[in-house]
C-alpha cells in the first residue's frame, strides 16, 4: 500500500502561489475527499500529486509506489473526443505503463479489459468511437481505464461533475471498491453527502488546510464556512 506525504509544499503558477506550505500525510489504503470552494486550489494540489505541476517549494513524497504508479483522472476528463479511437482502445491505454514498448495486449489483458468495461456498464459499446458517447458514458470509460491501470494511488479531480444521479451512484461504488482493495484514493468533491458516503477521510481546503481527518470531524459546517471565508478573501481564485 502507498501513502503520500506532503512536506512544506507550496504550489503556484507563473510565480504566484496558489497553495501555501502544506504538511501532512494521505494515509495508505484510505479514500480521502478533498473539499473546498471553487478556486481553492484542489485541482492544483491533485495535479501536483500527479506530477503535472512542479512544486514552488517543498515536495511530494509517494511512499510504497513509484511516480508512474499513480492513476490520474483530470477534471472534465481532459479528453479530446474528436480523436479517432474506440471505447475499447481508450480503456486499453491503461495498460501503457505495464506493457512497455514491446508488450502487446494478450488474452489476459483482453479479459481484464472486458471485465473493466463490464464493471462500468459499457458492455456492447466497445467499438463505439468516443466522440459518439454521452458525457456519462465517457466518464464510465475513463473509470474503466483507471481500473485497467491497476494503480496503488488513484487521483480523481471532480469525477462526478455534470453526471446524472444513476451514473454518479454507479461510479461512486467503483471508488468505494478501490478503497476497499487497499488503494490510496484522493477525490475532489463539492457534494458533502457524497464525500461522506465514499470516503473515510476528508481534507477541507482553501489554499491551506482548514481541517484534515475522519469525515465526521473534518466535514463540519464550521470548517466549510471557514474555507468559504478564506476563499472569498483571495481575489482571482477561479484560476486555481
Amino acid at each position: 500500500m502507498a501513502r503520500i506525504r506532503l512536506v512544506d509544499l507550496s504550489l503556484g503558477y507563473a510565480g504566484e502561489p496558489v497553495v501555501r506550505r502544506l504538511d501532512g500525510v494521505f494515509a495508505a489504503g484510505q479514500a480521502t475527499a478533498v473539499v473546498g470552494p471553487n478556486g481553492s486550489g484542489k485541482s492544483t494540489l491533485i495535479k501536483a500529486l500527479a506530477g503535472l505541476i512542479a512544486p514552488m517549494a517543498g515536495r511530494v513524497v509517494i511512499e510504497g509506489a513509484s511516480r508512474r504508479e499513480v492513476a490520474y483522472l483530470a477534471q472534465g476528463g481532459g479528453v479530446d473526443r474528436d480523436f479517432p479511437i474506440s471505447v475499447e482502445d481508450l480503456v486499453a491505454l491503461g495498460f501503457e505503463r505495464r506493457l512497455g514498448l514491446f508488450g502487446g495486449v494478450g488474452p489476459a489483458e483482453r479479459a481484464r479489459l472486458a471485465a473493466a468495461i463490464a464493471a462500468v456498464g459499457l458492455t456492447g459499446l466497445e467499438r463505439r468511437p468516443i466522440g459518439a458517447l454521452s458525457g456519462g458514458q465517457l466518464q464510465r470509460a475513463l473509470f474503466a481505464r483507471v481500473m485497467v491501470q491497476d494503480a496503488p494511488v488513484i487521483l480523481l479531480d471532480e469525477p462526478f461533475s455534470g453526471l446524472d444521479v444513476r451514473t454518479t451512484a454507479a461510479l461512486g461504488e467503483v471508488v468505494r471498491g478501490w478503497a476497499a482493495e487497499g488503494r490510496t484514493v484522493l477525490v475532489t468533491l463539492h457534494d458533502l453527502a457524497l464525500a461522506r458516503r465514499l470516503c473515510g477521510q476528508a481534507l477541507v481546503f482553501a489554499r491551506q488546510v482548514v481541517a484534515w481527518g475522519p469525515c465526521g470531524e473534518a466535514l463540519t459546517p464550521a470548517h466549510i464556512e471557514t474555507a468559504r471565508k478564506l476563499a472569498d478573501a483571495w481575489p482571482g481564485l477561479e484560476a486555481a
Binding site: 503535472l52 508512474r68 499513480v70 490520474y72 479517432p84 474506440s86 514498448l101 481505464r145
Partner: protein, 298 residues
C-alpha cells in the same frame, strides 16, 4: 525498353532519364509509408500546420549548407536535419514556458528561420535557389537520397510501432501521459519523426510538396476509416497512389513533379470526400434520404 516500362517520352526533360524517374518513384513510395501515418496522427492531434511550419523551418539549415558546400546532397541533408531539430527543440522550449500555445511557438521560430533562409539565398544565389528548396528539383533523388528515404520510412514505421500507444494516449488525453511521466518526450519524438520525413523528401520534391504528401492523403483517409489504424493505412495507399501517378504524369508533361504529385493528392482528397465510406458526400446524402423515408412511415 527499361524495366517497368518507365523510359517514358518526356522523362528525359523532367528527370534527366528514366533511371531518375525510377529512383523518384521508389523514394516517393518510401516516403508514403513513412510520412502518411504521421500525417494521420498530426491531423488527429489538430496539428496539421505543424508539418508545414517545420517544412519552412528546415530551409535555413539547407540554405546555410548550400552556401557552405554547394549542392552537395550530404551537406544539404545534414543542414536541413540540424535546422529541423533546432526548430522543433526551440519551439517546444518556448511552448513549455506556457506563454504561447504550441502552434504560436512554432510560428515564432519557423518564420524567422524562413526569413533567414530567404536572406541567405537571395544575397548569394537569387530567389530561384530558394524556390528550388521549396518546390524541389526534378531528378534530384539519387541513390543516396533513396537510401535516406527508405531509412527514414523504416525509422518512422518502427517508431510508430513502438510508441503508438503513447502517441495516441498523449493525443487523446495529454494529462494522462503527463501523469504517466512521458508526455513531453513523446511529443518531441513525434515532431522529430515528422522532421526526418521532411528532410528525406525536400531535395527531390521540395519542402512544401513533401509536407503536402504527408497531410493531404491523411486528410483524405478520414473519409475511409473511423479509427486511427484504418486512417493511417488508407493514408499510405492514397499517398502512394498520388505520388506514383504524379511522377508518371510529371514525366510525360515535363511539369515539376512535386506540384503534380500534390495536385494528384488533392484530386484523391476530393474523390474521397465524394465517395468515402466514412462520411463521404454520397454516403451522407444516402443516409439522409433513408432517414427522410423512414420519417414518412407512420
Amino acid at each position: 525498353m527499361a524495366p517497368l516500362g518507365l523510359d517514358l517520352p518526356g522523362a528525359g526533360a523532367a528527370f534527366g532519364g528514366g533511371a531518375a524517374l525510377r529512383w523518384a518513384m521508389a523514394g516517393a513510395l518510401a516516403l508514403s509509408f513513412g510520412g502518411a501515418p504521421l500525417g494521420s496522427l498530426l491531423i488527429a492531434r489538430r496539428m496539421s500546420l505543424m508539418g508545414d511550419a517545420l517544412s519552412h523551418g528546415i530551409l535555413l539549415g539547407a540554405a546555410a549548407a548550400f552556401l557552405l558546400a554547394g549542392r552537395d546532397p550530404v551537406a544539404l541533408t545534414l543542414g536541413a536535419l540540424a535546422a529541423a531539430f533546432g526548430v522543433t527543440a526551440l519551439a517546444s522550449l518556448l511552448a513549455r514556458t506556457r506563454k504561447l500555445p504550441e502552434d504560436a511557438a512554432f510560428a515564432m521560430v519557423y518564420l524567422p528561420a524562413l526569413a533567414g533562409a530567404a536572406a541567405l539565398m537571395s544575397r548569394r544565389e537569387g530567389p530561384e535557389a530558394l524556390e528550388a528548396l521549396l518546390f524541389g528539383a526534378a531528378g534530384a533523388l539519387d541513390r543516396g537520397g533513396l537510401i535516406l528515404a527508405a531509412a527514414v520510412a523504416s525509422a518512422s514505421l518502427i517508431g510508430l510501432a513502438l510508441f503508438i500507444r503513447g502517441f495516441v494516449a498523449e493525443s487523446v488525453d495529454p494529462g494522462f501521459t503527463g501523469s504517466e511521466g512521458a508526455g513531453g518526450r513523446l511529443h518531441l519524438l513525434l515532431m522529430m519523426l515528422v522532421a526526418l520525413n521532411l528532410v528525406a523528401g525536400f531535395r527531390a520534391f521540395g519542402a512544401l510538396m513533401t509536407v503536402a504528401l504527408m497531410m493531404i492523403p491523411a486528410g483524405a483517409a478520414r473519409f475511409w476509416a473511423r479509427g486511427y489504424a484504418g486512417q493511417a493505412g488508407a493514408a499510405i495507399v492514397i499517398s502512394a497512389l498520388a505520388s506514383e501517378a504524379g511522377l508518371l504524369l510529371a514525366a510525360r508533361s515535363g511539369i515539376e513533379p512535386g506540384a503534380v504529385m500534390t495536385l494528384c493528392a488533392a484530386a484523391l482528397f476530393a474523390a474521397s470526400g465524394l465517395a468515402g465510406l466514412n462520411g463521404g458526400l454520397i454516403v451522407t446524402l444516402a443516409g439522409r434520404r433513408r432517414l427522410a423515408g423512414r420519417a414518412l412511415v407512420p
